[in-house]
Symmetry: C2
Subunit: 409 residues, 2 copies
């Protein structure tokens, strides 16, 4: 300790579920979130799913007094939905958009349109450099047959890589957000193992909130009860993670979640529960060693497991690339065949029979439509294959390095 | 000097122009590049436009002896085209795909399909940590009326931000690649000002090659002579930039370019000239101060200039978003009108006149086609607006910080 007292930081994290026209009682809830944040006076607020820039602007105006610094991360068609409010100045920001994020044709899921990303804000509080990350990963729509698992794993990997590469000058790293993964899922283990981040819920000295720290609970009137049937207590998918990098220690003194409704009122903030952590940051004499998870012997197993899942996704993507390519070629052949038939008719062949103009045109348009769509899909799945393949390669490189390391010792 | 001798690093950078089926004498040139690299034995090779993974694999096999370490960056539909060969082990890699990169419907330009990116490889050579970046920015197709300038500026900005955020633990930063900008262009000034990178050509003690260090020259048999008419000596758009971050100094001892043909043969490596630098890296007693360009009083002017151009792009993108949205609405109205007419006919109205089935169907398909295309364009330009707006905001934040700083001193 160099005369510096312990820093106490209060953090609020919430997936706000503020989709214009779709989320129920959105405006009322955004007002409620703003009022609570103003009353409670946290140090740092990490929000997700603030899809409307108007909602962000309204919050910014309302919170200008107690959170004079804020940032909204723009990306995708709709926006990343990520924003940060802070009592302390924001020195710098950076946005990293995940290379894979579902499929544009899955309109009912819509994740693709959000341009899911991780936002980084850098702050200096009491001389301590904080790298604060806020993110929202691809949703899980069906746990038993999770078609998006490879994409979410690529996102978890890119998130981990982004944190590792950008946090080298930081004293403390914080990550808050909706990771759409259960605590024991391979993506969480990968993220934690590869970055060395610790889970505020697991580390908290004092916990108050939903059982097991769940953030999607049946008691919340906005949650889809059928989705939670296999999990009667709810699930935990919203996290606050942290680590100290240089000569600091971070402890989670207290972790709280809301419990199906906002404090003092009868509606919840969102369909998710808010996560609130109180962290203690203290300077210590010598650098905190082994902050990176690479020392963990189980890490190689986790990377192998994740790589296997990415490989499964790669095979599926290759199959889809092939199918869509074949469909495009067939449509092109049909069009060429039709062109030949039309030319033959023009040349006077088969003039004894009436030419079926209408069905001919309908078929041509159908073939053209299929050609355009199938070509688009082919391009998209080619990109998907590239990114899955690239991630598989990167993971392999890390595995090789991990396996070589013990023999050096 | 702590007993460590000066490190001498020889770097080779080239835009290989290796587009399958399109680039002339590609296989011959790739073989030539491989042979030369093997003979010359550089320490580090940064290549762009290696679009075919097969070409990369062939090079990798050929160069396995002298460059045992390599990495290919996958992205986009075609691939980023970026790869690195090295005499020294690659410890880690990261890819950042630029958020804007031209338009998918500009098929004749094709930049969009490449997923233009910056690749980072981290190496430790003689105990010195190197962050090595390789990139290729969006091409300039018409200098007088450069429609891609805002996109290239967003890329230059994202490149600078990516370097700043990821290089904090590096001792030495190197950037090589085809930046598609002339040395005095605002994007280069922005990149250099905001990162503090120095231009190997300007700093070189000894230079040998095309006049003014040009890398696209009329003497090269593959260059488009009409494009170079306003520049009889050629243009310089390929760079090697560097800086030392911690207690090191970097000096460029020698810079060379090829001169319209590869050494000893009658064809060039590519339509671009290769850039070859010999750098001297030396440890010095105290940290090299002011490596970041933020101390430069002219930086605010450069950021303002860049922000103005991004603003011009933002207005154009908003206009295109509006036009495509209006077109989609009109097509939808036409379809609705047709549906109403069809229903009226089915209900027996206007039965006295024959219903023009063929032209009705043609019109309906046309309207549907326009609706799909215009909606796609609208989505795309919405994303474009988001990213240009986000960059404008980030630049504004930096400007505010730059303007506040002098008053603190």
């Amino acid at each position: 300790m160099e005369g510096e007292p312990t820093l106490r930081l209060r953090i609020f994290d919430l997936n706000c579920w503020a989709i214009r026209y779709l989320s129920r009682r959105r405006q009322e809830r955004v007002r409620l979130i703003g009022d609570t944040l103003r009353q409670e006076g946290f140090d740092l607020v990490l929000l997700q799913e603030v899809w409307s820039e108007q909602d962000y602007s309204d919050l910014k105006v309302k919170l200008a007094g107690c959170y004079p610094f804020s940032h909204y991360f723009r990306s995708g068609v709709i926006g990343s939905g990520l924003c940060v409010f802070s009592r302390f100045p924001i020195l710098d920001t950076l946005l990293y958009q995940y290379s894979l994020n579902g499929y544009p044709y899955m309109l009912q899921h819509g994740d693709w349109f959000c341009g899911k990303s991780v936002g980084l804000v850098i702050m200096k509080i009491s001389g301590i450099i904080f790298n604060i990350y806020v993110t929202h990963l691809h949703a899980e729509y069906c746990r038993d047959k999770d078609a998006y698992l490879p994409h979410r794993l690529v996102q978890a990997w890119e998130l981990a890589q982004f944190i590792r590469h950008t946090s080298k000058a930081a004293d403390v790293v914080l990550l808050g957000g909706d990771l759409n993964m259960h605590p024991e899922d391979v993506g969480i283990r990968l993220l934690r193992g590869w970055t060395g981040l610790r889970d505020a819920f697991a580390e908290a000295t004092h916990f108050e909130g939903c059982k097991n720290g769940c953030t999607l609970v049946p008691d919340n009137c906005f949650t889809d009860k059928s989705e939670l049937l296999p999990f009667p207590l709810g699930i935990r998918i919203d996290y606050i993670l942290y680590k100290a990098i240089s000569s600091f220690t971070v402890k989670c003194e207290e972790l709280k979640t809301t419990m199906g409704r906002a404090p003092g009122v009868d509606i919840p903030f969102s369909d998710h529960e808010a996560v609130m952590a109180t962290l203690h940051i203290q300077r210590q004499g010598q650098p905190a060693g082994a902050t990176l998870g690479t020392a963990d012997p189980a890490l190689a197993d986790v990377v192998t497991e994740a790589r296997t899942e990415v490989g499964v996704g790669l095979r599926a993507a290759r199959q889809q690339r092939y199918s869509s390519g074949r469909m495009a070629v067939l449509a092109l052949l049909l069009l060429l065949l039709q062109a030949a038939a039309a030319l033959a008719t023009l040349a006077g062949l088969g003039a004894e029979q009436p030419f079926p103009k209408l069905s001919f045109c309908l078929l041509a348009f159908l073939a053209l439509g299929v050609l355009v769509l199938a070509s688009g899909l082919h391009l998209f799945h080619t990109m998907e294959v590239k990114m899955l393949h690239g991630t598989e390669d990167q993971m392999w490189m890390v595995l090789r390095a991990l396996q070589e390391r013990p023999s050096e010792g």
